[in-house]
Every structure is written in structure tokens, then in C-alpha cells.
């Protein structure tokens, strides 16, 4: 499991490869916060290569979303498979996040 970060135009795109769980969520948090400190404002997390996410992974997404908003930025999510969609629906977090079906749509939506 790992996170790869790259910049596409003005947007920081993070791919979550494997699980996003209690064992590695801090790594994701730190990577995104580092970019936020450098002044980045627009973030997209792409879950096309993600396995499962646990409650602490969801917690990190909520926390990042708040911190980014506080800096006047935006966090969007893309490419949730059916299982992950269900996870966001069960927790109603689908109402808190802007979720796009594809990476392209997410990038366009900023």
C-alpha cells in the first residue's frame, strides 16, 4: 500500500494504492498536509486503485477536508468502486464530500 502524488495543472492528485487503514492513514495525511503547507489549494484523491478503507481512513479524509477548507482550498474524491460507494453512503459521508465518477470529471469540476 502506498500513495503517489503528482500535480496536474493546478491540482494535486493523490492515488491511494491498496488499503487506506489505521496502519497507513498518517502517511496520507502527512503527504497532503505537506502540500497544503507549500500553498497548494486544490486536491483530488483518486481511489481507482484502492482496496478497502476503514473508519480511521474515513476519519483522515474528514480531517483533511476540514483543514483544506480552512485554508480556502478544496478536496474532491474520484473513482469510488461500488463497495467504497456503499461505505460512503452508509456513513453519509457522500453528503460531505464532492465525489466524481472519473478522474477527468473531477479535474474538470474544480
Amino acid at each position: 500500500m502506498s500513495f503517489s502524488i503528482k500535480k496536474q495543472g493546478e491540482i494535486v492528485v493523490v492515488d491511494v494504492e491498496g488499503q487506506l487503514i489505521v496502519g497507513n492513514r498518517q502517511e496520507l495525511k502527512q503527504k497532503v498536509l505537506d502540500e497544503l503547507e507549500k500553498g497548494e489549494k486544490r486536491f483530488l484523491i483518486d481511489f481507482s486503485q484502492t482496496g478497502y478503507i476503514d473508519s480511521s481512513g474515513l476519519g483522515v479524509l474528514v480531517s483533511l477536508s476540514k483543514k483544506i477548507r480552512e485554508q480556502g482550498g478544496e478536496l474532491r474524491l474520484a473513482n469510488l468502486n461500488d463497495d467504497l460507494k456503499t461505505l460512503f453512503e452508509l456513513t453519509k459521508l457522500d453528503t460531505l464530500f464532492q465525489i466524481a465518477d472519473t478522474r477527468e470529471r473531477a479535474l474538470e469540476s474544480f
Binding site: 487503514i21 496502519g23 473508519s55 474528514v62
Partner: protein, 151 residues
């Protein structure tokens, strides 16, 4: 018992698998325990959704709670996992060395307006949504038992 199918595929309804495991209180073990258990579920032809979603998420939550809440991440303390599965159901028991806790008292509804932006508190909620039952398995309350019926 059915007679299996003609190609020699196994009669699943007479099959039973069990697994016992003990790990130190370190969250890095969670992923591999989950993989081990889901592989057993796949062996018994549990659905793809059960194998890729319900079991991994619910078990991760139970393990994380046992490691972090029950054992306070003290590596000297251990978490025991017992899983048994057959054609009807998967039963997982996760035991820590903590004081125990009250499942009902500790479960919140993270979907209310005031809770939606909370960073924590979704673990027990998810376990209950993804399993058919989540119970305290002993009086002390340091063993949680999760049951999932095979779809």
C-alpha cells in the same frame, strides 16, 4: 449433504474451516490478518462483496479497536483471533487483554448532523452495518464476536 457437482468441485455444504491466530498489538498486522481470513471466505465461495468489503472493513475495525483501545498499543499484549466458517456463516472472535467495554454504550450514530464531521466513532457503527451481528462474547467484554451469514 449435496453430492457436489459432476466436475469434482467440492460439496461446500459439508465444509468447515477454522483459523486461530495471535498477534502483538501493532496495527501493521491488520492487513495480513484480513487477507488470511478473506482468503478462507473465498475458499467457501462467499460473495465478492463479502470478501472484498464486509469482512475486510468489519474485521479491520475489530482489530484496530482491540489493538488501540483494548491493549493501548502495548506490544507486550496480544490480540487473539478465532475465525470459523462454513456454508452457513462466518464467525470471527477478536479478543484483547483490555478491561472490556460496553458495545451499546460505545456505539454512536456518526451520520447525524453533529457527528458527521467527527474524525472518529465510526468503527462499531460500521461493524454493525456490515455484519449480521456484533456481540460481546464474554462478561468482561474484551472479546467481540462478529457473525456474517453467507449470502
Amino acid at each position: 449433504m449435496t453430492d457436489g457437482s459432476d466436475d469434482g468441485s467440492l460439496p461446500l455444504d459439508s465444509m468447515r474451516l477454522a483459523l486461530d491466530l495471535e498477534i502483538p498489538s501493532d496495527v501493521r498486522y491488520i492487513e495480513q490478518v484480513v487477507e488470511l481470513v478473506t482468503r478462507q471466505c473465498a475458499q467457501l465461495s462467499f460473495t465478492a462483496r463479502h470478501c472484498a468489503f464486509n469482512v475486510p472493513v468489519a474485521l479491520s475495525e475489530a482489530l484496530a479497536n482491540a489493538i488501540l483501545r483494548g491493549n493501548g498499543e502495548d506490544r507486550e499484549k496480544h490480540v487473539r483471533i478465532h475465525a470459523s466458517l462454513d456454508y452457513m456463516r462466518l464467525v470471527m472472535e477478536v479478543a484483547d487483554e483490555g478491561e472490556g467495554f460496553d458495545l451499546d454504550d460505545c456505539t454512536i450514530d456518526p451520520t447525524t448532523d453533529e457527528n458527521l464531521e467527527r474524525v472518529d466513532g465510526r468503527g462499531l457503527f460500521l461493524m454493525r452495518k456490515l455484519m449480521d451481528s456484533v456481540e460481546r462474547f464474554n462478561d468482561r467484554g474484551n472479546v467481540v464476536r462478529l457473525t456474517l451469514r453467507r449470502a
